[in-house]
């Protein structure tokens, strides 16, 4: 028998979006019981690694219209315009709330909150706390969440299945990692806030926990994943590790140089105009990739591959220490380079998934009782390319929206008959028991994962081709077969990280399937989806969202209309 606990709202994921959802639900109704379920302690969540800032208008020279237009243009006109309008309106309120809760935002001399420049943003609207913004936001939210007495945390619990019966979602089956026991955590609404799945790719800024769990949970219940072909390569990752060097380096005036010391974004036409290094991420990553392909990449003795140089020397030690101290710490510790004295070698690195669980503007999915917010979701704020510093704010705006809407929704909802949900959790317990220490074929988790990483890098890189994407579709299908033959060495119930890695690999293969399926269908180039065979945008045939549905017979593809009405799609040129 599994342990059964009962709550009103169950939140899966303890990062920026999940914590914001918990606080919003608690503020709206202090009487309800909220479960916050996370596979790590909340302060380990990957929000912690975000560096550069969070966007919201703050200055007299800025406007909601300007933030909205920058965002829709950055999205290559695939963002839903009602969502973008709602987002830019809520953004300043959310960042102000965080200020009231104690976030140590950096300040101007007069004590007002400071803002910095960011890629694709037409003025300084990125709020920052030096260059550890995600860290400070996450810790502020986590610490603030502790003052609410009605948030019950399930730390280090791994959700293996959504409990769905009769077309409604009423809880989750969660494995207590420390004991190996399965629990049924029931509620009248479930909010997914588990983040993205950057670990599907080999060279990524993402931490080990970013395995697309929430996308897979929803996908397996028939909820479509939207716009999965759009994955963001951040221009500046460190060699070898892929550790993120923030876009704030360029916001503060940093240059990108090729091996001739040339500022190629200024001297050559990469479509970014006079924005130069502050162009949007998709364009800058393509520019670096082209420079390297043209033989102008920088070599590092003893390291494979070619890079560009990110040069901060002219910014000076004083400003680097005041604005970018973490960049200096990371460069020294992980690249053996002091940016005060030397340029930092970097190359484009997988960073963010624009796609995710399809939601409406209220963060609702197509499954009754299920919500999603943050990177796990695709509310269609970011379209085909996200602007830097919009995603931390997105976690707040739509995390809050999900928490509030779910709190309203449960007024008219009941768990109903518990039996079917508890039985599903018991079936999950049996499934996990069979997987733990399973002896089957000889396949190893680490090897299947490595081969998945390779297939995804080859098929869905900065530039894609029809042939390579089609091969990735086939490769992922084969890897799913191999996954069925995986054997596990660890049969212990206590903190079995091999078991968790196995479950995560299963989730990542779902994500990989959806990404490759969506990618191969889109025969145009838009935003981050740069298709060599179809190098231009094609609004006549492809101005639509893509949906991928899971089915026992294999994935099913569909389309969804883009919400326009405010800004007419135009050529994206800076």
């Amino acid at each position: 028998m599994v342990d059964v606990s009962r709550h009103d709202v169950v939140i899966v994921g303890g990062g920026g979006a999940g914590l914001r959802a918990a606080i919003a639900a608690s503020e709206l109704n202090p009487e309800i019981s909220i479960a916050l379920v996370s596979k790590v302690y909340p302060m380990r969540s990957h929000t912690v690694s975000a560096e550069g800032g969070a966007a919201a208008i703050a200055r007299d020279d800025d406007s909601l219209e300007m933030h909205g237009y920058d965002t829709v243009k950055g999205s290559d006109f695939l963002g839903d315009q009602d969502v973008i309008q709602y987002f830019v309106e809520q953004a300043p309120k959310e960042l102000t709330r965080l200020e009231h809760w104690g976030c140590p935002w950096s300040r101007n001399e007069d004590g007002s909150v400071a803002t910095r420049a960011f890629g694709g943003m037409s003025t300084k609207r990125t709020w920052y706390a030096t260059d550890k913004v995600g860290f400070h936001m996450l810790h502020t939210l986590f610490q603030t969440s502790m003052k609410f007495g009605n948030v019950d945390r399930y730390d280090e619990h791994f959700v293996t299945k959504l409990l769905v019966d009769g077309g409604v979602c009423r809880g989750v089956a969660a494995l207590d990692i420390r004991t190996g026991e399965m629990k049924a955590i029931l509620g009248k609404a479930v909010i997914l806030t588990t983040g993205g799945g950057g670990k599907v790719w080999p060279f990524t800024t993402n931490g080990n926990i970013k395995t697309g769990d929430g996308m897979s949970l929803a996908y397996r219940e028939g909820v479509p994943l939207k716009d999965m072909e759009f994955v963001q390569y951040h221009p500046t990752g460190l060699p070898g590790t892929g550790i993120l060097i923030t876009e704030a380096t360029r916001g503060e005036g940093g240059y990108l140089l090729n091996n001739e010391g040339e500022r190629f974004l200024v001297t050559r036409d990469y479509g970014v105009g006079n924005k130069a290094e502050l162009g949007p991420r998709d364009m800058i990553s393509r520019a670096i990739t082209q420079e390297i392909a043209a033989g102008r990449g920088v070599e590092i003795p003893g390291k494979p591959g070619r890079y560009a140089h990110l040069d901060l020397r002219h910014i000076g030690e004083e400003k680097i220490m005041a604005r970018l101290p973490f960049v200096r710490e990371l460069s020294k510790a992980y690249a053996n380079v002091d940016p005060v004295h030397e340029p930092i070698p970097i190359r484009p690195v997988l960073h963010y998934m624009m796609g995710g669980v399809d939601t409406d503007i209220e963060a609702r999915t197509s499954l009754d009782g299920l919500y999603a917010a943050g990177e796990v979701a695709c509310v269609s704020l970011n379209g085909a390319n996200r602007l830097g510093s919009n995603s931390l704010t997105e976690c707040l705006v739509f995390g809050a929206r999900a928490g509030e809407h779910a709190t309203e929704y449960i007024k008219g909802a009941s768990v109903g008959e518990e039996g079917p949900f508890v039985q599903q959790a018991e079936a999950e317990a049996a499934r996990i028991d069979a997987f733990r220490g399973r002896q089957r074929g000889g396949e190893k988790i680490a090897k299947v994962r490595e081969d998945m990483n390779t297939a995804m890098e080859d098929g869905t890189g900065v530039y894609r081709e029809q042939a390579s994407m089609a091969k990735a579709v086939k490769d992922i299908a084969e890897l799913r077969q191999r996954f069925e033959q995986v054997s596990l060495d660890d049969s212990s119930k206590i903190f079995n990280t091999e078991l968790i890695a196995g479950l995560e690999l299963g989730n990542m293969l779902d994500v990989a399937e959806a990404v490759t399926w969506a990618a191969v269908q889109r025969k145009e180039s838009r935003g981050a989806h740069a298709c060599s065979d179809y190098p231009t945008r094609n609004d006549t045939e492809y101005l639509h969202h893509s949906l991928v549905y899971h089915s026992p017979e294999g994935p099913r593809f569909d389309k969804k209309e883009v919400t326009l009405g405010v800004w007419e799609p135009e050529e994206r040129k800076y």
Binding site: E99, G111, K132, A446, S492
Partner: protein, 250 residues
């Protein structure tokens, strides 16, 4: 490619379902010269022994998951270079915590202490969003910013000579966090936290060994925070007899 080196790792193993007491296991592997300790552990887990359990995530010294004891010293293993060690390296769980399994330690005790210091802004009257942001000068920010940099990696508890003997002692990270909020100009809850600090042993059992600040990978200086907090606490306690307290804060 760079030349591979051979290293021997002596790693603590413990599964409470099978073992009475922790034991060690030795792994001899080839490593890259620029690896960190964590890279070696992940290599062992992926290619030699999938049963080894350890926590990690960000591998960029900010999530705080991968604190362990390396050759007797508490270290953040994702930032700790292999090149600073010889051919044989001993890795064990953080000291002063119960072991859950292998290199994974029990954090629940810390999480309780963390919450005890009330690490949130307390005000008599909640500010409305429409009022806009609070003014705070760069100097006022600097008074607490350093203490807000803690990643909860637990190295300081592992190094502290008081934590293991004084169960009521809140410990370096929790105290530095409480002090961080006391120092924040937006907060009005310092006398509430000071009352928590005045509980038997909560702060005054700190012996000022300074070990916490020496091992901190983020230069938070919890030892300095504790000394500042002790002084502020004595003043707060003394003035509480002569100054009427304002409205209740929450």
């Amino acid at each position: 490619m760079s030349e591979k080196l051979k290293k021997t790792f002596i790693v603590t193993r413990f599964d409470p379902d099978k073992d009475e007491v922790p034991k060690t296991q030795t792994y001899e592997i080839e490593v890259e010269p620029d690896w960190k300790i964590l890279d070696a552990l992940n290599h062992i887990k992926d290619t030699v022994d999938p049963t080894l359990s350890h926590r990690w995530s960000c591998r960029m010294a900010v999530c705080g998951s991968c604190g362990m004891t390396v050759n007797g010293e508490p270290k953040l293993t994702c930032k700790d270079p292999l090149s600073s060690y010889g051919d044989t390296i001993e890795i064990s769980p953080l000291a002063n915590f119960p072991i859950v399994r292998d290199l994974v330690v029990e954090l629940e005790g810390f999480m309780e202490k963390f919450q005890e210091v009330k690490p949130w802004i307390m005000v008599a009257k909640e500010r409305a969003v429409e009022e806009g942001t609070t003014r705070q000068s760069p100097e006022e920010l600097a008074d607490f910013k350093g203490f807000s940099m803690c990643i909860n990696c637990m190295l300081c508890y592992s190094a502290c000579p008081v934590v293991s003997n004084e169960p009521e002692f809140l410990g370096p990270a929790a105290l530095a966090l409480g002090h961080r909020y006391n120092q924040d100009t937006r907060d009005e809850g310092s006398h509430v936290r000071n009352a928590v600090f005045r509980d038997e042993g909560a702060i005054f059992s700190c012996s000022f060994a300074n070990e916490c600040s020496e091992v901190c990978p983020k230069n938070v200086n919890p030892s300095g925070a504790i000394q500042q907090a002790k002084l502020a606490n004595v003043i707060d306690w003394a003035t509480s007899f002569v100054v009427k307290r304002g409205e209740d804060v929450s």
